[in-house]
């Protein structure tokens, strides 16, 4: 790959580093840890001159919100190697991701693959610029792991589509501008009756209701569609051929979730070295070992597992550097990362003892309260974006080639 050698490699890295230094708003000192701190984009950010919006717009102009996308659609037009350099420099400098976006992570890649030229020109630039925030309308009350059991109806009314039904676990639907949505266009078939549509959340008949989780947060919603009309052009791909798009998008989602776990946190986790935090709460014995030997063994297993996972993510990346799409390792990494992140959260609250049981109030430090909420939030790691059970099925069948029952 030419872009790795000579002026395209180290020189490009210096360019990127300089640009970041010059353009990052000094007000955004810390990397975003919580949802409100992240730069999610959307109509709410358009025209705003708070530092987050400024940072997002500057990065978008430079092509850094979607570095690998074609320039034609507002992307950076960068090679995989250059994209990696941009990501590395943003992480190394402690800068916030310029745009946290389901549009960039999930929808964009499948639009590039499956959408018409008109659809791409309509939606991709707005994603890149963070003008439209997207949410995902996949799961339904009766269609969780068995996603293809979805029942939300989409009827062809001649000049428009008519949508009726209910989605659940639509992340941030209450804050999103548009929704990419799986709908049923044929009730006689299962997988072959699914289509992929795009819905403006301001359309009449769309209603969202946040779901309160055991952690106390409400990142997900129930979303109701009652006689919602959408233009004919909002269907991506062919009618009844949405299942392939849906699966492809899920691969991008899992890859993205796995990537998030790799750093040691994952949705719900708190940062910091588990061994050191445990030492603060449990103390060391006279040989310098954690005073709770039983806990120490379990912490060490978890730390080792996490490091082996990071090594695996790095190895998989090195092995498939040329390929830009998700690969067979995605399910393995997603499964392992979820288990490890949950175990880590459990060990964190165990290490904190009675201080790891607090819900609120001044008797608990912010770190302690965050650990408890994070522990509860982490239970979702093995459910959202494909349950661990589904991931194990995928590994067994698609990676290992084990047969279906007759």
């Amino acid at each position: 790959m030419a872009d790795l050698g000579g002026a395209d490699g180290p020189a490009f890295r210096v360019q990127v580093r300089d640009w970041l230094k010059a353009n990052y708003p000094p007000e955004l000192r810390d990397p975003a840890r919580t949802d409100p701190e992240a730069v999610w984009g959307g109509r709410a950010f358009v025209g705003s001159d708070d530092p987050q919006s400024v940072w997002m717009r500057r990065a978008a102009e430079r092509g850094f919100t979607a570095p690998a996308w074609p320039r034609d659609y507002g992307g950076g037009g960068l090679s995989p190697a250059q994209t990696r350099i941009v990501e590395q420099e943003i992480a190394a400098g402690g800068y916030r991701t310029p745009l946290a976006s389901f549009g960039v992570w999930m929808l964009g890649p499948v639009l590039l693959e499956y959408a018409t030229e008109d659809q791409r020109r309509e939606h991709l630039p707005k994603i890149v610029r963070g003008e439209i925030r997207w949410c995902q309308g996949y799961s339904e009350p009766g269609a969780g792991s068995d996603l293809a059991a979805l029942a939300t109806r989409c009827e062809d009314m001649g000049d428009h589509w008519l949508i009726n039904g209910q989605k659940i676990w639509t992340s941030y639907a209450d804050k999103a501008d548009w929704c990419f949505c799986l709908v049923r266009t044929d009730t006689a078939k299962k997988h072959e009756g699914v289509s992929f549509v795009l819905i403006d959340m301001t359309s009449p008949g769309v209603e969202t209701r946040p779901i309160r989780l055991i952690s106390g947060d409400s990142p997900f919603c129930e979303t109701f569609f009652t006689d919602v009309k959408i233009p004919k052009g909002n269907l991506v791909g062919k009618v009844n051929a949405g299942w392939e798009i849906a699966k492809r998008l899920l691969q991008y989602e899992r890859q993205n979730i796995s990537g998030g776990f790799g750093g040691g946190g994952g949705a719900g986790g708190i940062a910091g070295d588990l061994g050191k935090i445990a030492a603060d709460y449990v103390g060391l014995d006279e040989t310098g070992r954690l005073a709770d030997a039983d806990l120490r063994s379990r912490i060490t297993r978890n730390k080792m597992d996490f490091r082996a996972l990071q090594q695996t993510i790095a190895r998989v990346a090195a092995e498939s550097r040329a390929s830009n799409g998700p690969n067979a390792a995605t399910s393995i990494i997603k499964y392992a990362a979820a288990a490890m992140a949950q175990e880590r959260s459990e060990l964190m609250v165990e290490a904190m003892g009675a201080q790891g049981l607090g819900w609120a109030g001044d008797e608990y430090s912010p770190l302690e309260r965050q650990a408890v909420r994070g522990w509860l939030r982490s239970k979702g790691n093995s459910i959202e974006g494909g349950t661990s059970e589904v991931n194990l099925n995928v590994i067994a069948k698609r990676v290992l080639g084990l047969p279906d029952p007759k």
């Binding site: 792991s145 779901i211 997900f220 039983d294 003892g353 009675a354 607090g358 459910i383």
Partner: protein, 366 residues
């Protein structure tokens, strides 16, 4: 289930009927949402006390029924099934044990009848820091007149806000022992804890607080703690059993891929393993309670076994309850989260699994 006497069967049936009717899980939810300082429903407690539950291990001479620990365990198990918040464990089991085993005639006569009829709430205050380490308490008891003065701090005191009487472990002139402190005594300062499991507890500080000693020193402390631990384990047995049964029901009705998800072999095997663990844990809990009833020298080992095994099982079952319910198990509207949060608090109470594995090994000499 242990083979029960007729008396025990009646007690169990009464507890089951009452908790199912008067104290389902939504009672705890209501308590949580009311943000009461108290930690339990006082009306419900009055009903429990009227049924004599607070006096089950109290000697008849002091107004109790002296039915014993296995009987108390049956009630706690039923309370655990519906996650009923009450001071029964702290007051009617733990503090009552302290007074029964270590109280002078006068102390027993003063407190036990009121504990047995539920009019006084008593509790234990044991740990200074975030981890259970009763042998390492630094709270100081200094002799003063015919009593003592306490200075120091206790954390995670169950029902600490509601308690009228605190049984406090402290380091006195003759080593570690238990001391009686009135909650309204001088120098007592209580701060309510807002716990994840929505139960009542407090951090408590003592400053020149007057106290009376119980007899028995560190040996008494061990005995009292073992009774409290066995009680928590019995409550956990009920909670874990209910969590498992609720999950099992869901496996039979939730359909995905055209099947009840309980038809999938991987989930079947996980359910079978959980049930096996529950059966083993039940045996361990009942054996520990029975050992306390006969004051067996093996009781410390058996209690640590019960608390550790039951802790591992409730930990597993509460996690699987959420996982097997999928997204719905993650919502606050579902009961799963209440069992999950209660599991970790109960695991930590009076020593978690790691503590009791270590203790078991020490007791066995390796």
């Amino acid at each position: 289930m242990a083979v029960l006497s007729e008396e025990q069967s009646m007690l169990r049936d009464a507890a089951k009927a009452w908790t199912q009717e008067k104290s389902p899980v939504r009672a705890l939810r209501g308590l949580r949402d009311s943000r009461s300082d108290h930690g339990y429903d006082t009306e419900a407690w009055n009903e429990m006390a009227q049924m004599g539950w607070a006096g089950v291990i109290v000697p008849e001479a002091y107004g109790g029924s002296e039915f014993g620990f296995l009987s108390m365990g049956l009630i706690l198990e039923e309370l655990g099934r519906t996650l009923t918040a009450s001071p029964l464990l702290a007051s009617g089991l733990a503090a009552a044990s302290a007074l029964t085993l270590g109280g002078s005639e006068a102390q027993k006569a003063e407190w036990l009848p009121k504990i047995a009829d539920g009019s006084t709430i008593a509790t234990l205050a044991i740990d200074d820091g975030p981890h259970h380490a009763p042998e390492r308490t630094a709270l100081a008891a200094t002799a003063s007149g015919d009593g003592y003065r306490l200075n120091g701090r206790k954390t995670f005191v169950l029902e600490g806000m509601a308690a009228d009487l605190l049984v406090v472990s402290a380091r006195g002139p003759k080593g570690i022992g238990l001391f009686l402190v009135r909650a309204d005594a001088a120098g007592v300062n209580r701060t309510r804890l807002q716990l994840a499991d929505s139960r009542g507890a407090a951090n408590v500080t003592f400053e020149e607080t007057p106290a009376q000693a119980l007899a028995g020193g560190a040996g008494l402390l061990d005995q009292v703690l073992d009774r409290a631990r066995a009680g928590v384990a019995a409550e956990m047995l009920g909670s874990a059993s209910q969590a498992f049964e609720t999950t099992l029901d869901y496996l039979k009705v939730r359909v995905q891929f055209g099947q009840p998800i309980g038809a999938f072999q991987a989930l079947q095997h996980r359910a079978a393993k959980m049930f096996t663990d529950l059966e083993l844990s039940r045996s361990a809990v009942e054996a520990a309670l029975a050992a306390l009833d006969v004051d067996s020298p093996e009781a410390p080992e058996l209690v640590s076994l019960a608390k550790a095994k039951m802790g591992d099982t409730f930990h597993l079952v509460s996690n699987e309850m959420v996982q097997m319910h999928g997204g719905i198990g993650m919502t606050d509207a579902h009961e799963a989260g209440f069992y999950l949060k209660r599991a970790r608090a109960a695991e930590a109470a009076f020593g978690n699994q790691a503590y009791h594995r270590d203790r078991y090994a020490r007791l066995q000499g390796y």
